[in-house]
Structures are given as structure tokens and as C-alpha cells.
Symmetry: C2
Subunit: 350 residues, 2 copies
């Protein structure tokens, strides 16, 4: 299945996301694959058996979000310059979101921009990071604070790479997939409720629908001036949870799962969603082994941390809410009391 | 005088280059001025007397091409994060090309891109670096090897800032201006032959014409896939000269002046230009105190250094030549012998 991504506002005309077995790829130019040790161990042979290029080099970085920073980028850049890559060369991001974000950002600044393609090997990267062109790295001030909007030339999604993915990481990817259904597509949500995604067909179908929805959003709003903010459903809460737990206790998708439950309770307070619907979302998260609760020790402190988020400007917090399952609602003028009321429901939990 | 820059292929719709006294500027957002110590000493008071912003900070970096690197950028980025600049904040590049290139690149990657404006204070930056959106820094592998194509929101050119500019630097800026006339506009060249540019009117007129020509080129080819390469007239030779002299003996514009003479002699060998025209270009360069010759010690070595230039791919060297004064010609399949013949004319000179 091929999903064309059209970006009308962008300097690139668009690109294709191919969801299928990885095809044979031939390039009449220098190619460098950027990956990490874990992915390389499991899958590099498979990739190399499909790749043909004028010259082919591998740059392997350490595995983990803690290496997603400018220091690692400078190491990658130095390798590219040592290998004398020119403006017509190509990078291949082969790994999860960290590899995709760093490789894309590196491609965007190497000699003011060279081509790159994405071959994501985690569910999260397949449904989320590989579409949309957000690239970047973390620094001591926060996550993804340095980066660029830079689109790949192509994305290849092959679910066979997910066979070696730890179950917990698979679930974290599911959180983003579920998020898309709650925000945009009730029918897709109902499909996810009924199906276990244990067959390759249904998993491919779910990924394809999620990518389609994301492409539809990004096409309308590449630079996050409007509707793209809806992709942050659950994230406003998740960022505080991740911050409070030093990015150690939860995977990003897990924090988003909890954040979606919090956002839904806020929707319920505003009369946008029924308690039955709040429960349906919760059940689907639990089905995929995702956490749905979190003990807030300091309600006021949790609230204040909303304002540290880079996505807010002029101290107005934008809440992305479900307006029933399958529809979104953006609110940026909510009274503090209502938010505190919702947060206080998480004070007593374990 | 306002020159609108339209960039049809770009994500920005375009921007204006204003050539006039610097107007009063008011911004309802956080503003950070990036400058260096030298410019700050002479002109910061003038700038601050014209600026009004929600908050205003100054980041001052060291003066010189040797500080145009990722280390300095990281310092600037750290300052911006410390001052909690958000996505709606604005950077102002206040200085020469080094400041403009670094500030533009910083703006392009700070939270994936914030606005910046250019207030260039050297002639070179006014006619060259401030239009076209090339930003970047150097590294140990070469010049401008890391960067982005990123357009400013506005450019303000005020020739009063040039009053404190060393004469030698003014001349170096003239080299780029003369370059534009030789490549694109015979009438402009004749104006430069006759006028000394000692009045403010004629200097403004010359800058405006040069900016117009550059804007016309960039609008057709933002990413240097075609005609924009013509702006590299003289540069293929200049880069080797700068490399051989360790970037110390000549200012960039001075090396370009020599490079234009070399390119013209190559044009003459190919029958594209007369010796009289070669001399006319030389005279105008001399009138502005620019060097027009350079002693090549090792002809073969000089030739081989063409291939180190990042602008060449697949080992084909693109020569940008004058086809008579006012017209360009691009050649990428010249026999080595002809080039060596031209270079050998510079073997005996002092």
C-alpha cells in the first residue's frame, strides 16, 4: 500500500509512504545508513541485502533518547564529511524515532540540505515520527528544542522489523495510533476496539489508517500553526508526567496514554464526552497494556508545569480534547479551577 | 527604496529589502539582537534608539570568521533558551556576513524555526549575504558546510553604518557588486565605470541594483539547482586562492576579484570575451583598490584543488564565465589543458 503525502505549503512536492515488505532499493549516488547498535544487530543484514548504491557506508550511534543531542549529531556530521558526501548523496534513517529525528535534522543541515529516506523499525516511528517532517534533538533545556521542519524523500514501513521490538515499545506505539482514532475517526476507533491486530493484515491496515490521518493533518498544517496541534492530544499532560518522572519511568507513548485519560476527564467536565466514552478509551488502552493512571502528589505543582512547555506561547495553555470519540476540540481559555478539579482525581490513586 | 523579494518556490511568501535610513521598528514580541563587539561599540546605540520590543536582549559574540562555527552557535542558542524565547520571538542579525549567516542559521533551528531580520553593517553583507537565504557555519572540513536555506522576514540596508567600515572591507564588498554587473547587466557595469560612488545617492543606487539582480536570480533558483550558480563567478578560483593562503592574506571579496580576472582570461581563451573587456573589468577592480593578480607556484596543485570544492559533484567542475560584459555562460566540460594554460599566466607574476 502506498500513501502519497502531499505538502502544498512545502518546498518539497511530496513523497510516498510505502507500507509493505521492504523493496529492493537502488541508488546511483553515495548512500550512508544511520542506525544504532541494537537495530544494526537485528536487522542491518536484511537492509543491506536490499540496498544497492554507488557507495554505501554505515554510521552507528548509541541506542537511547539520552544520545539524541547535538554532540551525537556532530559525530554523525564528521563521519559524513570524512566520507566526502556531496550534495547529491542520500542518508537513510534506519531505526526508531531517535534515529529518524537525528538523521533528518542532520540531512537538513549537511551542506544546507541533502536527501534522506526513512525506514522506521519501531511502531511509534512508523505511525508517528516518519510522517510530518519534524526533526530535531534535545538539549539541557528540554526535548526537541533544536531542529528543523524537513521532509524525507520517501518512507518505507515494513512490519517485519517489529518482530524484534520489545512488547512494551509496541504498546507505546499503539498509544499514538489510538490517539489518531479518538481525535479523527470513530470508525477506526471501533475497528481497534474489535481487532487484536495480531494478524499482519490488520496491523498493516491500522498503521496505514493512522499514517493517512496524520498525512491529512500535516498536509493542512505543516508548521503547526493550527490543526496540527491536535496531534498533541494527551501530550500536554504527558510532558508534565515525563518531566516529573525524569523521563525514566514511562515511555513517551505510556505517558501519552495516561495524558489521554486525563484529557478525557477534562472533556467530561466540559460536557464534551460521556463517561461511557471515557471508559471505552481507557479499556482499549488497557487492552494494549498501557498505563491509564498516575499519582499526582502536588496538584498546584503539576498545573504550573504546563507553562514550561515550549508549545505554549504568551502563557496560554492549549488543551486538545475529544469532542466525543472521533472528533477533536481545541480550548485555550479554560478556568484553572476546572483543570485542578480534574487533576485532583489523580491525587488519591496509587 | 523598497525591493520586494518574491520566492515562489519557498515556504515563505517573500520579504522586503528596504534601502534607506533605518526606520523605527516596533515589535510586540521578545526580540534578541545578535551582534559582535566591534559593531556593538560603533552602532548599537543607534540601533537601540530605533528599536521597541516587548523585551529586548543583546547577544554579543566575538568578531571574526574564525568564530563562525557550531561552538559559537551553541553559545547563542543557550542564551536564547536562558531568555526563554518562544516560537513567536524574533532575532535581529546586526553585523556583517558572519553575524548574518550564524543568526539566520540559529533562527532556522531554534524550536524548528523562528523569525529573523537582517540589518547588515558591511557593504558585502548588504549586497550579498542579506539576500538569498543561505545561512550556515564553517567546520574543520571547510566553509559554510553546515547550514540551511532560511529566509529573513525583512532586510534593512542603511549605508550610514558603512561610515565606520574599514576601506579595505568596503572594497571587498565592491567586488561582489562588480561581479553582479559583469554577469547580468552591462548598463550597470558602465555606470560603475563612470561613477566613483562617493555620493550617498549613487552608492544607494548601486546597492539597490545589485540587490535587485541578486533577488531576480534567487527568485528563479532558491536552492542553487541552476542559475544561482552564476553568483559563483570568480569563486571557483577564489576558493583555491583562499585555501592556499589559509584564509589570511585576502578578504573573500579580494580573492573573488582575482578570481574574476582568472575567469575572464579563461573566457578569452574560449573566445567569449575580448582582451579589451578583460581590461575594463580589471581597471574597475583596480579603481576600487582590489587585487587582480596572484602568484601561482604549483599550477597542477592549484588545478587539483578545484575538486575539493563542495559545489562540485561527481568531479565535474562548473566554470562560471563572462560571455562579454553583462552576460554569463556556464561550462562544465572544459579540457584540463585550457585551464592549465590560463593558470600558467599567473606563474610568473609577483
Amino acid at each position: 500500500m502506498i500513501i502519497p503525502i502531499r505538502l502544498e505549503s512545502s518546498t518539497v512536492r511530496g513523497y510516498n509512504v510505502t507500507i509493505d515488505r521492504l523493496p529492493k532499493l537502488s541508488f546511483d549516488r553515495k548512500v550512508v545508513v544511520v542506525t544504532n547498535h541494537t537495530v544494526a544487530e537485528f536487522h542491518l543484514d536484511t537492509l543491506l541485502s536490499k540496498l544497492n548504491a554507488k557507495s554505501l557506508d554505515i554510521v552507528t550511534v548509541k541506542d537511547g533518547e539520552e544520545y539524541k543531542n547535538l554532540d551525537t549529531m556532530i559525530e554523525i556530521l564528521d563521519e559524513l564529511f570524512s566520507k566526502q558526501l556531496d550534495r547529491k548523496s542520500l542518508l537513510i534513517a534506519f531505526g526508531g524515532g531517535v534515529i529518524g529525528d537525528m538523521t533528518g535534522f542532520t540531512a537538513s543541515i549537511y551542506q544546507r540540505g541533502i536527501d534522506f529516506i526513512q525506514i522506521p523499525t519501531t511502531l511509534l516511528a512508523q505511525v508517528d515520527a516518519s510522517v510530518g517532517g519534524k526533526t530535531g534533538v534535545n538539549n539541557r533545556f528540554g526535548k526537541n528544542l533544536i531542529g528543523a521542519f524537513y521532509q524525507p524523500k520517501a518512507v518505507y514501513i515494513d512490519i517485519d522489523f517489529l518482530e524484534t521490538l520489545p512488547k512494551r515499545e509496541f504498546s507505546a506505539g499503539m498509544a499514538e495510533l489510538i490517539k489518531m482514532s479518538v481525535m479523527f475517526d470513530r470508525e477506526f476507533f471501533e475497528f481497534l476496539e474489535e481487532d487484536t491486530l495480531s494478524s499482519k493484515e490488520s496491523l498493516n491496515r491500522a498503521i496505514a489508517r493512522s499514517v493517512e490521518l496524520k498525512a491529512w493533518v500535516v498536509n493542512q498544517d505543516e508548521k503547526e500553526a493550527g490543526i496540527r496541534a491536535v496531534l498533541n492530544y494527551g501530550h500536554t499532560f504527558a510532558h508534565v508526567i515525563e518531566n516529573e518522572t525524569n523521563y525514566k519511568k514511562y515511555l513517551h507513548g505510556e505517558a501519552v496514554a495516561i495524558g489521554m485519560v486525563m484529557a478525557n476527564l477534562l472533556s467530561y467536565e466540559l460536557g464534551l464526552i460521556s463517561l461511557d466514552e471515557v471508559d471505552r478509551v481507557k479499556r482499549i488502552l488497557i487492552k494494549h497494556n498501557l498505563p491509564t493512571t498516575y499519582k499526582i502528589k502536588d496538584i498546584e505543582g503539576f498545573y504550573n508545569k504546563f507553562f514550561l512547555d515550549k508549545k505554549s506561547s504568551n502563557s496560554k495553555i492549549k488543551f486538545i480534547l475529544a469532542n466525543g470519540i472521533g472528533n477533536f476540540e481545541i480550548r485555550d481559555n479554560l478556568p484553572k479551577e476546572i483543570i485542578l478539579k480534574v487533576l485532583s482525581k489523580f491525587k488519591g490513586v496509587k
